[in-house]
Symmetry: C2
């Protein structure tokens, strides 16, 4: 599906994300060391880094400066990881496995998991607000505001709340889409936009990136639902089949497996179409769409 | 203790904080409405608003623009309220009363409390990153960075982690001070600095505000410990005596009541001295120091 050069690019960018996160997080010897160790435990050494990859791919379109782009990628990933840590807690999904490792509240304790999530969220805004990071302070503010809006009660956290309220209920496909546009889509969209904002793009190019990102956000969730229904826990590195077990509505439960796969293909096509006029610079974004639709875990 | 004009100013500024928070938080009818309702439940209609008052008092020194100053005050208060909501959860202090009302996890549920705290933290950065809020985008970035550093793992969240690790342990006065400089002091310091940054001050004036704010942060905690040991639950609006019950080290447990009160007076004196050369514009800051040292709840 993906050409060998894309696999190589992806591996390089995953390593880049890992290095940047390692440098961005406080060292495990800095006080309070247990908190910092737990922040590093959950953030480093795992994950597909889809959001950083999308930011890096968008950064090729915007010819972003390295420091701004890596801070943007790390900030989005810190928000993502914080949401996983809190989502895994006993009062939410009560999950014990994430990225193939015990979740933070299992490895440490619940209070530490709470603080790790809290501190990772702050770390995101800390990284992205470093003075002089972007050449242009107004563009940096726009990136911060984009990230905040994507993460908060009308973005990701709001999607979590809708998800909480939907457990065990009949919901329509439209309602499911609203939930995912918030819960997963908003932050994926922010990853792409921040990659764009880390360089210099006109509003029309940003609008095209945004359209691409909206399709990718939904696509990612459709594929996630398919994988949750079809893959096993060892392959996923997280508990498989938990949506069905938790009686959560998914694309698969609403549309069936075959229609969900068709929807995924259609969303990938729409994503590629949205950036058709951006030319060669958007190669990695196109490849990311193909990668996400065909991923196995 | 405080002159009548100060009481009047304080009441006005508390109402101002309430109005600004009411306008800053998403309406309870906006989806997801249960999350927004819970965010408003815990944020509005209560609290002494010490941090907004400090921001407003510092804003008189910097001649801050109203929109920037109110956003700064609300952002700091949102961070404070999020920390209370998470701190009250069963895996932390497990408290059922806050500001005279049932805590969020009691009134709603634990998952909602987790999301309310998460979303209030994001709301703070959302408010403070609004495009064009400060006349000067670089100054606005500095305010955002100040808030993030004060709130994160090397600020407030770090202080919470130190606190967690100290329960039931013997700690020294120096260690207690380090804990409080993080847990309470960092955000109080940010409140004052953001009030300064919302207007235009030179670095020397900001340094004086910072020195004032450091003293106030410790002062606030010393007085809190005295009140926890001496006042009753009805007066405090939160569970009294819980530090002793939780075997937590406090100024009172380390120094005794009488020495703790002397320390509070000394810190108030140092705070006033730090801003002695700022003249009439710093009147409210001086009054705030007197208010905090003599507060009864």
């Amino acid at each position: 599906m993906s050409d060998p050069r894309f696999s190589e690019w992806m591996a390089q960018q995953q390593q880049r994300a890992e290095r940047a996160l390692d440098a961005a997080l406080p060292g495990a010897t800095i006080a309070p060391s247990r908190l910092h160790e737990a922040m590093r435990y959950t953030t480093l050494g795992g994950g597909k880094r889809v959001r950083p990859l999308l930011a890096f791919a968008a950064g090729e379109v915007s010819k972003a400066c390295t420091a701004a782009l890596e801070a943007a990628a790390c900030a989005v990933e810190c928000i993502h990881v914080y949401s996983l840590v809190h989502d895994d807690m006993p009062c939410m999904d009560d999950d014990s496995l994430r990225r193939g490792k015990p979740t933070v509240h299992v490895q440490y304790d619940e209070a530490t998991a709470l603080l790790v999530g809290d501190a990772l969220q702050t770390q995101a805004f800390d990284l992205l607000s470093a003075p002089g990071l972007f050449g242009d302070a107004s563009r940096q503010l726009r990136a911060l505001h984009t990230l905040a809006q994507a993460s908060g009660s009308r973005g990701m956290a709001g999607g979590q709340a809708i998800d909480l309220g939907s457990v065990g209920k009949e919901i329509s496909l439209a309602e499911l889409e609203v939930m995912h546009l918030h819960k997963t889509g908003a932050l994926i969209r922010a990853a792409v936009l921040l990659g764009g904002l880390a360089g210099d793009l006109n509003d029309e190019a940003l609008r095209q990136l945004d359209q691409y990102a909206k399709c990718i956000g939904l696509l990612f969730q459709v594929v996630d639902d398919v994988l949750d229904a079809t893959a096993d826990t060892a392959t996923l590195g997280k508990t498989a089949g938990k949506d069905a077990a938790n009686n959560k509505p998914t694309y698969v439960s609403l549309l069936g497996l075959s229609e969900s796969r068709k929807l995924a293909e259609e969303l990938a096509r729409q994503a590629e179409e949205a950036i058709a006029t951006l030319g060669d610079r958007a190669l990695r974004l196109r490849e990311m769409a193909r990668y996400i639709v065909s991923r196995q875990f």
